[in-house]
């Protein structure tokens, strides 16, 4: 990396989604509808998708997966272990704490956002999501 340089102007478009091997994204949500939409959106953009149905399951999936995800999208309201608990648990684990985690929720309450930040969330997307923006966000955090 050059010690000193300045960049001016735009840089060409990023590599396409078809790049191999695929980038893996973990989505954690107790709604099958949401999971299905996330899977469709992410797979269409060329990501490999693994899924967990709540925080506890998400941790299991994370533990069992061969491909460590490059990003995690998690719901907040979930049975057994909610999004906050899930984020905290992931952040405590040395293997996974560097993974960007984005909350995907209908919540807009600033208190909840604050809790998510404190837990270690990397971003916050309000449901319903716009596929382009979601992919844009994932691209940025996995870039």
């Amino acid at each position: 990396m050059p010690d000193s340089a300045t960049v001016q102007g735009g840089v060409s478009a990023s590599p396409t989604a078809a790049d191999a091997p695929k980038t893996c994204v973990l989505t954690v949500d107790d709604s099958r509808t949401m999971q299905m939409m996330l899977r469709n959106t992410l797979e269409a953009a060329g990501y490999e998708v693994i899924q967990g149905e709540d925080g506890v399951d998400g941790l299991h999936v994370l533990e069992a997966t061969k491909s460590i995800p490059s990003a995690i999208i998690t719901d907040i309201n979930m049975p057994r272990m909610d999004g906050f608990g899930f984020i905290e648990a992931v952040r405590k684990d040395d293997r996974f704490r560097r993974i960007p985690m984005i909350c995907l929720t209908t919540e807009v309450d600033p208190e909840k956002k604050k809790r998510a930040r404190e837990a270690g969330a990397t971003g916050w997307i309000v449901k319903p999501f716009n596929p382009q923006s979601l992919i844009g966000a994932i691209r940025r955090v996995t870039a």
Partner: protein, 731 residues
């Protein structure tokens, strides 16, 4: 692509169908005084989940109501309101509205009137106010959430959110220094840099400088700590708001300043952050922003976009085909897999046995293998049936609402108790139970349970009780609806039946027969047609629906104590146990469920010929109508009708669902076996006296006798009334 969306929409509706019962049972336990926080959470999540999904599909009416509902439930969750029975009732009513809105959205229900929604919304709002809130946040507050923007992503700015002022002169310098916390959140300054870069839509100026002055020697470097700071120069046209938005999520994990140089762009405030001063100096190291991969252009419209729901609805049939998928517990599939494995082994033993030299040993071995395969086949069949089995819970819980609404209209206070709701039965049957049960429960509320005054006058508790229970009984499922009402008023039933010409005026009927009358077409005891059950559908329709499922309905009633309806249903519609019989050269099947006993005709068997051409046979002091199956079905008898010798023939005593018996004469009775039911209607055409067909081991077809229709023909021939009466007369 539409199909993918449609598929997800279907999943959403399926999910609603799963969430609503969760909501129902949660609210029921709240209603019964169980304030477990987990119950409250489950209830909240159910509504939340429906709202989340609905928002993705732009189902605005549903979203808005669910949002208000959710906000009200949140008060319960945060304990700002107490779950008084009044509030729980509000929730229960709102649940009904929510459920109707789901039906409206999936096209299976009618349009929910706006004022009804508004009324319930108002009650929910009053709950929220009680909890100290002023109304639901955001969504609910705006009357028409048309501007319910799909997605706002915080943490990174979106290009669409850009607000560029026309004035592009001057520069704006953004200085930021991430705190350790930013890294703890697995975020990266790179993300901020690329978001800032995205603000520079016109590719005008984008200058990034990095200040490494705080960087310690490598040996002292703590990788968890933040040492770098950046300053980013952007065109002056970029507004402060746009920049602040970039830092919206990370603002608390960064020190950030905005300053402007020249131009007449908006003045930004704030001094450069500490440690940032040197950034402006020329020798300050700057870093190319290459590590931050440039933000890609938005991908071509992805496959999933919020569906324009109107169109999706238009494309669908008025009533969506009942969910074509089922969810099965993994252990069940595993169990089936084990059985299939055993079957493979059994087949290879069979092959081994077949290759043995001819003789008794081979014979025995083959027989033994066959026995094993037979029992495995039965197990596999049971196991596959198990895959289709579903607890009746889903239907039972829906009945809570039926009773609730019905008792409201009837102004009676009634509780419905559910028992055995985990009893499993084939899903086809579960699905088709809703209508008959709804009707029977409405009937129980309307006619079964007495009015409050009457109950009190009779020394009964004010609150009426209906118990809906399910259980397995000898290979069938029995569902009973038991009320603690006044029982069937037999005098009145008989009188009405006579008035309506259902029975002759001089008919003398047994108690059971009188009870049966309420199933007669066109019968209604209600003096006035009430809102509830008097909708032109009588109990005869219920009976037909249950019969169509291969079931039977029976009534037990005790005056002053209550009435019980028992529905006995087969566990599956696909397979049944049958008795193979020979009838004039044809092999036929009589369902075992309707066979009571078998006997042979000996010379001493008493058969009486009746003046109307019918016959009756004496059996242990009773006379049963006798019918020759071959004649009944119009099968050609080589010996001619008159010459048909009953002697030595076999008799099957059969019974219909109401207990009327008849004796059917067949040439001979063979073995009893399980048969797979194939619809005759679908493959050929409807044939009187035959309910379906089955395929035999040799590939030929055997007809399955429609016992109820034979019994009704034959009993009508003897007497217009059902069997026991004729029995009395014959005796």
């Amino acid at each position: 692509m539409a199909s993918v969306n449609d598929e997800i929409l279907q999943i959403f509706f399926q999910e609603c169908q799963e969430q609503l019962p969760v909501l129902e049972s949660g609210l029921s336990s709240l209603d019964s005084g169980d304030y477990d926080p987990e119950t409250v959470n489950a209830v909240f999540r159910a509504v939340h989940s429906i709202k989340g999904g609905a928002a993705s599909f732009g189902l605005e009416r549903l979203v808005r109501f669910a949002h208000t509902f959710e906000s009200a439930l949140d008060c319960l969750r945060s304990k700002t309101v107490e779950p008084t029975s009044e509030i729980v009732r509000t929730f229960i009513q709102s649940m009904d509205v929510l459920s109707d809105l789901v039906s409206e959205a999936d096209g299976s229900g009618e349009h929910v009137p706006d004022d009804r929604i508004a009324n319930h919304e108002k009650s929910l709002l009053s709950v929220i106010e009680m909890g100290g809130g002023s109304g639901p946040s955001e969504i609910g507050a705006s009357p028409a959430p048309a501007d319910f923007t799909p997605m706002a992503f915080e943490g990174f700015d979106l290009e669409d959110d850009l607000e560029l002022t026309p004035d592009s002169s001057g520069l704006v310098i953004v200085g930021f220094r991430p705190l350790d916390d930013l890294y703890r959140r697995a975020d990266d300054p790179r993300n901020i840099l690329s978001a800032l870069k995205a603000l520079n839509a016109e590719d005008e100026v984008f200058l990034v400088e990095c200040d490494k002055s705080a960087l310690p020697p490598l040996a002292d470097l703590d990788v968890e700590k933040s040492y770098l700071s950046w300053s980013v120069t952007l065109p002056g046209s970029v507004t402060d708001e746009a920049i602040t938005e970039v830092f919206d999520w990370t603002g608390d994990a960064c020190e950030m300043t905005i300053s402007r140089i020249g131009g007449d762009g908006p003045e930004g405030g704030g001094a450069p952050p500490a440690g940032e001063e040197s950034a402006a100096t020329e020798e300050a190291p700057t870093v190319q922003n290459e590590p931050a991969k440039p933000a890609p252009p938005p991908p071509a419209p992805a496959s999933v976009t919020p569906i324009p729901v109107r169109e999706a609805q238009k494309a669908r049939a008025p009533r969506r085909p009942q969910d074509a998928t089922i969810r099965v517990d993994l252990p069940r599939i595993d169990g089936l897999m084990d059985l299939v494995g055993e079957m493979v082994i059994a087949m290879s033993s069979m092959e081994a046995a077949c290759s043995m030299p001819h003789g008794q040993a081979r014979e025995d071995e083959v027989k033994q293998c066959l026995g094993g395969i037979k029992s495995l086949t039965r197990d596999i069949q049971d196991s596959v049936m198990g895959l289709r089995a579903q607890p009746v819970k889903s239907v039972f819980q829906r009945m809570q609402r039926v009773v609730r609404e019905a008792s409201q209209i009837a102004k009676k206070s009634i509780i419905l108790e559910l028992e055995g709701e985990n009893t499993e039965v084939d899903r086809t049957i579960v699905e088709q139970l809703t209508d008959p049960l709804t009707h029977m429960l409405r009937n129980a509320v309307d006619h079964g349970v007495e009015s409050t005054e009457k109950r009190l006058a009779n020394g009964k508790p004010k609150e009426g009780k209906i118990i809906l229970s399910a259980g397995h009984r000898s290979g069938r499922i029995v569902i009973s609806i038991k009320d603690d009402g006044g029982g069937i008023n037999k005098q009145r039933v008989l009188q009405i039946a006579k008035e309506k010409g259902i029975v002759s005026l001089d008919a003398a009927l047994s108690d059971d027969e009188i009870n049966e009358l309420i199933f007669a077409p066109g019968f209604s005891t209600a003096a006035t047609i009430s809102d509830l059950s008097g909708r032109g559908v009588g109990m005869d329709v219920v009976k037909q629906a249950i019969q169509a499922l291969g079931g039977r309905v029976s009534i037990k009633s005790e005056e002053g104590v209550g009435t019980t309806f028992d529905l006995s249903l087969p566990l599956t519609l696909a397979v049944m146990d049958g008795m193979f019989v020979e009838c004039r050269g044809n092999r036929m099947v009589v369902p075992l469920a309707s066979t009571v006993e078998t006997m042979k005709i000996y010379p001493e068997t008493r058969i009486n010929r009746l003046p109307n051409g019918g016959m009756a046979v004496a059996l242990r002091g009773d006379f049963l109508p006798l019918v020759v199956l071959g004649d009944e079905l119009g099968l050609h008898d080589p010996a001619g009708l008159a010459g048909y010798d009953l002697l030595g023939k076999d008799i099957l005593v059969v019974e219909n669902e109401s207990g009327a018996k008849a004796a059917i004469v067949v040439d001979s009775i063979h073995q009893q076996a399980q048969v797979v039911i194939k619809s005759l209607d679908k493959n050929y055409k409807d044939v009187a006296g035959v309910s379906a067909a089955t395929i035999l081991g040799d590939g030929s077809v055997a007809l399955i006798i429609d016992v109820p229709s034979i019994v009704s023909t034959v009993t009508r021939r003897l007497d217009t009334r059902s069997n026991p009466a004729s029995k009395k007369r014959a005796a």
